[in-house]
Amino acid sequence: MRFDVEARVRRRSGFTLEASVSCEAGSLGIVGPSGSGKSTLLDVLAGVEPGGRVSLDGRDVSNVPLHRRRVGYVTQDPLLFPHLTVRRNLEYAPGSRGVEDVATALGILDVLDRMPRHLSGGERRRAALARAIASQPQLLLLDEPFAGLDERRRREAMSLLDQARRRFALPMVLVSHFAEEVIALTDAAVRLEDGKVAAVGPSASVLRAGETQIDNFFTGCVVGPSLVRCGHVDLHAYVPEGVAGDVRLACYAHDVLLATSEPKEISARNVLWTMATGVEPAGEAVLVTLAAPPVKSLITREAADRLGVEEGKRLVAILKATSISYLGPAS
């Protein structure tokens, strides 16, 4: 989707957002510290905040009121309607469709007939997301939808979001404090600072020094005890006993080591020949996309130079089985 946004918002508090963003992205990240104007920019996109021109795929929607803009707007608080069951929350939008499908994709099928107050924090976030997706929006707008969840639940929700967004082919804008949190799910990003655009480009390019916790979300099929097939490679990974079929997995990019030759003796269980299909600068580091397993590796610039990493280079990827987290079944 093509985004052309001119946001000009002045607050009584003295805060001013003056941001102009033009870019093409399937999913766009907005990152920056608290008070940098991320949520305000998202509100301009949604039409909640007047004071800007917004055009999506070349169509000017600036004067389209919120209820006709078809944006799935998900806030930090899930804001489920407390007087409706989860199912009726998901069916709330007049154009909602495929409620059970969406609920399955986000792992909340079992709680559809409960009232929101009987849901856990993670379930509430996923239900709010499901409600937005079921409303058949043209664009998902997510304002730190998983903030406040613990790491395990956050990664679980992120991987479900990743899965659902692909499955329903939805463009999205994802707001987060941390660039590292959005890189796994977005292909372009805007970094805001003090209400101004500080950087815009491929999401890895807006990373800051020291930001390393970049996640890789991928799926695989359980083919044996602690063995998961991803594409045409088998990975050793700890999957709970009794789990079969397709599973969602994740590993951090800094846990994926690269070498130019196979180490003779090493404790890591996954040592695989692969190829670099993409090399992009990421803050002080370099993010290397690998062909198989389908993950990215974050290494220092110095290491990249030493190994001569470039697109098309054959490399050995080394990944401990324990670095791969099982996040749940894939639908």
């Binding site: 707007y73 804001l79 409706l84 007939d113």
Partner: protein, 223 residues
């Protein structure tokens, strides 16, 4: 009509007719921002702080057959002054601030972003009000209705000015008690009327509790 039945009719009618404008005014006060809002707020609260007799006098001036509105209503077959409808108007006006205070309080408790989310899901502002704001304001509407009903039941000052004290026509419980106190040997009648007031008010509170728990049960059933 007996004072007890009259009071009940007046209280219920007054509450019923003040509910729609009460909810609308609450929404305007709570969810809109415009220059005259403060003035509207003061105007709505005025009957709460004005002496009821003053409110009654102003109402009488408005609704007397010599005034524009009064003569229009008289012509339309709805005389207000010195008619039981006058007691209804007095009760409604005096109870209105209590209703609005309750409803605004429960609307204030609804996160406005809940309404924004509803609109982002494709529901117009009107539909959002109907589906989100109104159901979530239910406790305040209920509490406000009981307060306004009870206040109407006890209305004296404004009623005696607007509706007069016509036995069997505008003599509500408080007025009837006042009349009985002027009559020697009216003690027994006063006792009945006091007991009736007590029962009506307690019944109103119980009815509100029952409605509220019915509403909650309806939510629980869907669990």
């Amino acid at each position: 009509m007996s004072p007890i039945l009259l009071s009940l009719t007046v209280g219920l009618t007054a509450t019923a007719i003040s509910l729609p404008p009460g909810i609308l005014v609450s929404w305007i006060l709570e969810r809109t921002r415009w220059p005259g809002r403060g003035l509207l707020h003061v105007l709505v609260l005025l009957p709460l702080v004005l002496p009821p007799v003053v409110t009654g006098y102003l109402l009488l001036k408005t609704f007397s057959p010599n005034a524009g509105l009064g003569s229009f209503l008289q012509g339309a077959g709805m005389p207000v002054a010195f008619h039981w409808l006058g007691a209804v108007v007095a009760a409604a006006v005096v109870g209105f601030p209590l209703l609005v205070l309750s409803v605004t309080l429960s609307m204030k408790a609804i996160d406005p972003r809940m309404e924004i989310v509803s609109r982002s899901l494709g529901r117009s502002p009107g539909s959002t009000f109907w589906r989100v704001t109104l159901p979530l304001s239910w406790p305040g509407i209920l509490a406000g209705s009981v307060l306004s009903f009870a206040r109407g039941l006890g209305e004296f000052g404004a009623t005696i000015i607007v509706a007069g004290r016509l036995p069997r026509e505008t003599e509500t419980i408080p007025l009837a008690i006042y009349s009985a106190m002027e009559v020697p040997g009216g003690e027994e009648r006063i006792g009945v009327l006091v007991a009736a007031s007590f029962i009506l008010c307690v019944a109103a509170v119980f009815a509100a509790r029952a409605l509220d728990s019915w509403h909650r049960r309806r939510l629980e059933l869907n669990r």
